[in-house]
Symmetry: C2
Subunit: 182 residues, 2 copies
């Protein structure tokens, strides 16, 4: 089995897809990913039999990254800083990675692959909110679903024209934080 070149091609495809998805969203044509990777479409399809699988592979990395951030937040002894940090990091990522957004907002197929991770994140967020509430830093009546809604709002903004989205995302993140704080 001649793995050397095949494996290197696979890596190049994943790298090209990662960049393309981050920059232009998940709807980049397969031809374009292949072109960026410097391979033919057939090569791409040999490693990823369907578009969905390529997308899932690239997103898996990103989702894993988010898990790391979450665990870091859980280690923070300051409840407000932990929660605010999650919101800010999330916003920051949305600014730089368009794919992440569509993983959350995309209809069924794409997001479905990460149900487990998603539940894990939700669990962690619940913990952060409970701690923050116990510390009295949250406005009355605010619950984890409010924070989730805020995060979704931030994520959705990624679809704005790139020129303005960064600033708007920053403002909304501040708005959300002001809206949940006591």
């Amino acid at each position: 089995m001649r793995r050397a070149d095949a494996r290197s091609n696979r890596d190049r495809v994943v790298a090209a897809a990662r960049e393309a998805f981050a920059a232009a969203g998940l709807e980049v044509p397969m031809r374009e990913v292949a072109r960026r990777a410097g391979v033919g479409v057939a090569t791409l399809y040999r490693h990823f039999p369907t578009r969905t699988e390529l997308v899932a592979t690239v997103l898996a990395e990103r989702v894993a990254d988010c898990g790391v951030q979450m665990r870091r937040a859980l280690d923070d002894p300051d409840p407000w800083r932990a929660l605010a940090g999650v919101v800010r990091v999330f916003a920051e990522r949305q600014i730089h990675d368009r794919a992440l957004n569509e993983a959350l907002l995309g209809p069924g197929a794409v997001g479905a692959a990460f149900q487990e991770e998603r539940r894990e994140h939700a669990q962690a967020l619940n913990v952060l909110v409970v701690r923050a509430r116990a510390a009295g830093v949250l406005r009355g009546g605010v619950d984890a679903d409010d924070v989730r809604a805020g995060l979704l709002a931030i994520a959705s903004l990624r679809r704005l024209p790139a020129a303005t989205s960064a600033r708007v995302i920053g403002r909304v993140a501040d708005l959300v934080l002001a809206g949940i704080r006591a």
Copy 2:
């Protein structure tokens, strides 16, 4: 000139497009709009030479509606109620009309046709914010761009699956209001 049937067909096309766009977004195929209107595609194209023109025609109605709401808010003597009302009405509309969202967020071509109305709305919003700030009901540092960012966030949420978007939009609207209030 045989206007009777032509005119009635035009009306049916606009009505069909309005419904289809509100329900399924601006990306509904022309064939589908024609089918819903009970006419052939050629008829549709005779009245609207290009897809963009059909979209613009339908959105013009919606944008005009928003202008009415804005003027109503300007007449409200209570500055907070006026501003909060705008946010709430806007959120309510996003829930029921998917097209409105894409008019705001869609890239260039679509939104460009309404620059004038948009500026008018922006102007009105500025007035509302200035009044609210003068009345001391806004948190320090909040400006019109923050409110605009909040509205954009609400609008962006329309792309979530229909099942959850209504509730999430409601929560975010509350979050935004909490975030700007003193």
